[in-house]
């Protein structure tokens, strides 16, 4: 292809976006809608996962030890716990520390403790966190079998609830995203098909005049790329503003619970790059490949 021709064909593609502006507008609208749906669904499922993960990491298992153990015995229990696996964090809390913390927490009313206590009634303990919450009860029963362990207090019920929530979120999220993806592809394919169907006569005329397939296809591909770029830029902007707006509103919301949830959300900056790559890549790719496939249908004159 000569460079003069290349410039002409690119210009033709750009001109066709404008000449067929009604169809271009329809295609841009459909692409934006599909991208927003997909992007929104991905953001939501990503954030829910993140939030559940955050709550999971807050799990705390307290292992109380028998009274009157020597320092060595307590240390050996510590190593034994860590050797059971699935432990992400383990801290020793002596009964004195525990009492001190308890008094601290009481704040202004800590005076009442003075008269009540002559000796420390608390037990030495290990505070541990597990890495995989779904096998928490298994880990707990292993620890309970260690000699010198008095009692293990664990959020078993909360753990199983969280685990099943995460499973549901993962499955439902993936299912919704897959369905949206398929629907998007079908809608986009149909839109491109209609656009090109409207111009099939134009394509066949070009063939009669002796244009090569490539000469006819190229402006259509350029047109597809321009529409893809335009749609992804607008969709990206809308998603960005929408997300920012939502975050701001949640973070300043009266409900402290909603504030807490919003704090565990990822900021848009963290995902901006992958969203941009996803949008622009799919926009340009779908535009170019879609146009190319459907124009070819009318090239067999």
């Amino acid at each position: 292809m000569k460079s003069g021709n290349f410039a002409y064909l690119v210009k033709e593609g750009a001109r066709n976006v404008w000449v067929n502006r009604l169809m271009s507008l329809a295609s841009v609208g459909v692409l934006i809608a599909c991208m927003l749906l997909m992007g929104g669904a991905m953001l939501i499922s990503y954030n829910i996962n993140e939030a559940v993960g955050y709550v999971e990491n807050q799990n705390e298992v307290v292992v109380f030890l028998d009274e009157n153990l020597t320092d060595e015995q307590m240390k050996s229990i510590g190593t034994q716990i860590e050797n059971k696996g699935n432990i992400s964090k383990s801290t020793f809390v002596s009964k004195d520390d525990a009492l001190y913390d308890m008094i601290e927490e009481m704040g202004e009313s800590q005076d009442i403790m003075d008269g009540l206590l002559t000796e420390n009634p608390l037990l030495d303990s290990y505070e541990i966190s597990v890495s995989d919450l779904s096998i928490l009860s298994d880990t707990v029963s292993k620890i309970e079998n260690i000699d010198g362990v008095y009692k293990v207090v664990s959020p078993t019920e909360a753990a199983s609830t969280l685990t099943s929530i995460r499973k549901i979120v993962n499955i439902a999220g993936s299912a919704i995203i897959i369905i949206l993806f398929v629907v998007s592809i079908v809608i986009i394919a149909n839109t491109i098909k209609i656009t090109i169907f409207n111009r099939r006569k134009e394509v066949s005329i070009m063939k009669y005049v002796g244009a090569t397939d490539w000469f006819i296809k190229f402006p259509f591909i350029i047109e597809g790329i321009i529409i893809g770029l335009l749609s992804s830029a607008i969709a990206y902007g809308m998603l960005w503003l929408g997300y920012q707006y939502l975050m701001e509103n949640l973070l300043t919301h009266n409900s402290s619970w909603l504030q807490g949830v919003a704090e565990s959300f990822v900021s848009f900056d963290q995902i901006a790059l992958s969203v941009a790559i996803g949008f622009f890549g799919s926009g340009v790719g779908i535009g170019a490949i879609g146009s190319s496939i459907f124009v070819s249908k009318y090239l067999k004159v």
Partner: protein, 223 residues
């Protein structure tokens, strides 16, 4: 030159459109092809444009053996001829100028050549002031002259006109055929399909009559 040797065409649905047709059209000829609808004229034209391929026999146009030609050679073949259709087939969203220029652009012509040649050809068909107009703003006769300009612009050896006057007023029809006649005088072969017998009588040229898929008369034989 056009040469059909024992050409038959049967469509997949069983219709026998052409039956053992042989004919030869020499360079510089002006030929009318006449026949009632369904006689096989359209099939003949489609074969001349390599839109359809013969079921048997051989078709050679401008030195291209159309039955053996590879698909990717079709554009090069089509550039060696100009076509005019009954329904004009101008590209609706391109101006008159761009419609004519398009036929040159597909041949990789330089923009300098295009800028020189297109106004010249538009002048030749009598539309020097319509370059920037869109096809929809022109009358049928004017649109057909644009189509003719597009067919002429690459200076082809052969022009195929498929009922070029079918959608045009009778007075203007004469003008179009007269224009073809003038072009023919410069050495271009013209093949024109028509069913307007008046026109055929006015221009005393070779007439090939097709009926029921066969050549039933050719004035060339009688000469």
């Amino acid at each position: 030159m056009i040469e059909f040797k024992n050409v038959s065409k049967t469509y997949p649905n069983g219709t026998k459109a052409l039956k053992d047709v042989s004919l030869k059209i020499n360079d510089g000829d002006f030929v009318f092809i006449v026949g009632s609808s369904g006689a096989g004229k359209s099939t003949l034209i489609k074969m001349l444009l390599r839109e359809e391929v013969a079921s048997s026999g051989s078709v050679v146009v401008n030195g291209f053996d159309l039955n053996k030609m590879k698909r990717r050679r079709i554009p090069a073949f089509r550039r060696s001829l100009g076509v005019v259709f009954q329904d004009f087939r101008l590209i609706p969203n391109m101006s008159v100028y761009d419609n004519v220029a398009f036929a040159m652009r597909v041949t990789n012509a330089s923009s300098r050549d295009i800028r020189k040649r297109v106004p010249y050809i538009l002048n030749l068909v009598g539309l020097p002031n319509k370059a920037k107009v869109m096809p929809s703003q022109l009358s049928g006769g004017e649109q057909q002259r644009v189509a003719l300009a597009r067919a002429l612009v690459n200076n082809p050896q052969l022009i195929i006109a498929d009922e070029p006057t079918g959608n045009i007023d009778p007075e203007l029809s004469y003008q179009i055929v007269d224009l073809l006649n003038e072009i023919n005088k410069c050495g271009t072969t013209i093949v024109m399909v028509t069913h307007e017998h008046d026109l055929v009588y006015q221009f005393d040229r070779r007439v090939i009559t097709i009926d029921n898929g066969m050549v039933v008369s050719d004035t060339d034989w009688e000469v």
